[in-house]
């Protein structure tokens, strides 16, 4: 029995059995019945063989068996995803057409946000918030991130089991988000909660009903409206609320559009980095020879970060809606159809990435991945995310020879946010002084 009451060997054996069963199922069912949006595939980490089969046999695939989200196309190869992601004239992100997730927004609770807009409105709103992640801003943020990371890491227990997700990944990304918003620091965990509420499916653990989601998101709007009112009457400053309150294209936003953009920034700044931070610990534990390589050469941190972003793919897909009939991969996607671009699958496409299932921290092109998307919706905070992850690992390697994963992670049951609810770890010792 490992420390903390977990039996890692047993949980790994169970996982191996689950993986084998999933593989047999994925390659034996009629291909029309493959439904990669099924949340259970994500909570059990068993989606991989289904994507492998789709890439080989039906890279542009229509699923008509998911009653929750309705019919949707899956695009699973790297180049096809690039083609759709960059073609906003044909493939819309508009919230009023359903937005960016397979589950449509409800007609009476549509949250417009710039990631769920098409040009020209998208372009000016995105440009409004861009300064907060400009190279100059990142230079100012780096010492703040480093100081906070160092403080948190120094507070970790040695020789005890704890949840890396809660103690480090959530806390660090939430602190960063609070800084970007200039959000009251003592209330920062509200950001975590709103992020989780925004992306969770009802009945899967975070929220019970859609009504609960709406109520909590309206609390978020009320809280942020107070901050907006403070900032709009103050001189412009380089924080996200002030930029929105003073931006020409955003200063007259309706409340639901303000809420939509807040949710975008909260989820974009929180979930993705949080889950990659957790994923890095998991990946290095699953690939101990890579962990050795990193310890021996900390210069590899930058490429390890990129490799982890590919390996983790913290947003598994983005959805688009076809505005006209369009042919791709020998299939005709009809006007109005939902299309899921599965970044998580494109990142394992061996026609685009060599040996894609392997985690290799010094691979030749670690930045060659789809995790940030392509096109006009490419992640606006990608350099900030990379910087946070780099700084955290620079500080980890200074302190600890290893961080041991002591049980299989608990994964988020979502085909959108590919992440972790918990990851129990133990730090056996500090580096010698």
């Amino acid at each position: 029995m490992a420390d903390g009451g977990f039996d890692l060997g047993q949980s790994r054996r169970e996982k191996a059995e689950r993986d084998a069963a999933a593989r047999a199922h994925a390659f034996s069912i009629p291909i029309e019945q493959i439904d990669v949006a099924n949340p259970e595939l994500w909570s059990t980490d068993t989606h991989w063989p289904y994507f492998e089969r789709l890439r080989k046999e039906a890279p542009v695939h229509l699923c008509e068996v998911n009653e929750e989200v309705g019919p949707y196309w899956s695009v699973t190869r790297f180049e096809d995803i690039m083609a759709i992601d960059t073609n906003h004239q044909v493939f819309s992100s508009d919230a009023h057409l359903g937005g960016i997730t397979l589950r449509d927004m409800d007609d009476d609770f549509i949250l417009p946000m710039f990631i769920a807009m098409d040009p020209p409105k998208h372009d000016v709103q995105r440009k409004t918030v861009s300064p907060v992640v400009s190279p100059a801003s990142l230079m100012q943020l780096e010492p703040i991130i480093r100081e906070r990371a160092a403080g948190l890491l120094d507070s970790l227990p040695i020789g005890e089991t704890f949840d890396w997700v809660d103690r480090i990944s959530i806390e660090l990304t939430t602190q960063m988000l609070a800084t970007l918003f200039d959000f009251p620091f003592h209330d920062r965990r509200k950001l975590t909660r709103w992020s989780d509420v925004a992306t969770a499916a009802p009945g899967m653990g975070i929220i019970e009903t859609e009504d609960q989601r709406r109520a909590e998101l309206l609390e978020c709007l009320e809280y942020f409206t107070g901050l907006w009112n403070e900032r709009v009457n103050a001189p412009p400053a380089n924080n996200l609320i002030s930029l929105l309150a003073h931006g020409e294209s955003t200063k007259n936003m309706a409340p639901m559009e303000y809420l939509g953009n807040l949710i975008l920034l909260i989820v974009g700044g929180n979930d993705t980095t949080r889950n990659t931070m957790t994923g890095s610990v998991l990946a290095l534990n699953q690939n101990p020879e890579q962990y050795d390589k990193l310890r021996a050469n900390p210069e590899l941190i930058t490429s390890m970060v990129s490799e982890t972003i590919r390996w983790q793919t913290p947003l598994a897909h983005m959805r688009r809606t076809a505005l006209v009939d369009h042919e791709i991969g020998g299939k005709t996607i009809k006007k109005g159809d939902k299309v899921a671009m599965w970044y998580v699958s494109g990142n394992r496409d061996d026609t685009a990435i060599e040996n894609p299932d392997a985690y290799i921290i010094d691979r030749e092109r670690p930045r060659h991945h789809l995790s940030f998307g392509f096109g006009i919706h490419r992640c606006v905070g990608n350099r900030l995310a990379e910087m946070q992850l780099r700084v955290v690992w620079e500080e980890i390697l200074k302190r600890f020879p290893t961080i041991e994963v002591v049980s299989e992670p608990k994964r988020v049951p979502s085909s959108f946010v590919k992440g972790y609810e918990s990851l129990m770890v133990r730090i056996p010792a500090k580096n010698p002084a």
């Binding site: 083609a83 960059t86 044909v90 040009p119 861009s130 490429s303 990129s306 930045r367 392509f374």
Partner: protein, 142 residues
């Protein structure tokens, strides 16, 4: 572009690859010598991976643009839009594509034939159309 240009472009890139393992240092040295104002844009690229990946994407996009055109035209348009968000003007794209061509010309020397030169000229002109017309509403064919 004319029929046969795709093969000529591909051939020139293959010849360059045979002469040089990695074009990255050559391209960026030429770029920064001619346009020193562009060097600070890569200041945070400590290990050269950003520069390397950007060049790799450009070459892949050129090959796609010269060939099947599955994504290159729309990728270029959206990159122009994204870079405008960071106050990087569209002209930078023409400069970068041109620098790639100039680097190949220097590398190939006498192997840079008139046919290659003409194919690259046509390619650069066609690429420039998408750089200067990033609004997909203007260029969409359905």
């Amino acid at each position: 572009m004319k029929p046969g240009d795709a093969e000529t472009i591909t051939d020139s890139l293959e010849q360059a690859a045979a002469l040089c393992d990695d074009l990255t240092p050559l391209v960026y040295a030429r770029l920064f010598a001619a346009h020193p104002q562009m060097e600070p844009l890569f200041a945070s690229d400590r290990n050269g991976q950003v520069r390397g990946e950007m060049l790799a994407r450009v070459i892949e996009a050129i090959l796609d643009f010269a060939g099947e055109r599955k994504y290159a035209a729309t990728l270029i348009q959206t990159e122009v839009v994204n870079h405008a968000g960071y106050d990087v003007p569209p002209a930078v794209f023409g400069v970068f594509f041109g620098t790639v061509a100039e680097t190949l010309r220097a590398l190939l020397g006498e192997a840079w034939t008139a046919d290659i030169d003409a194919a690259w000229s046509r390619l650069l002109a066609d690429l420039d159309y998408y750089v200067t017309h990033p609004d997909q509403a203007e260029t969409a064919s359905g």
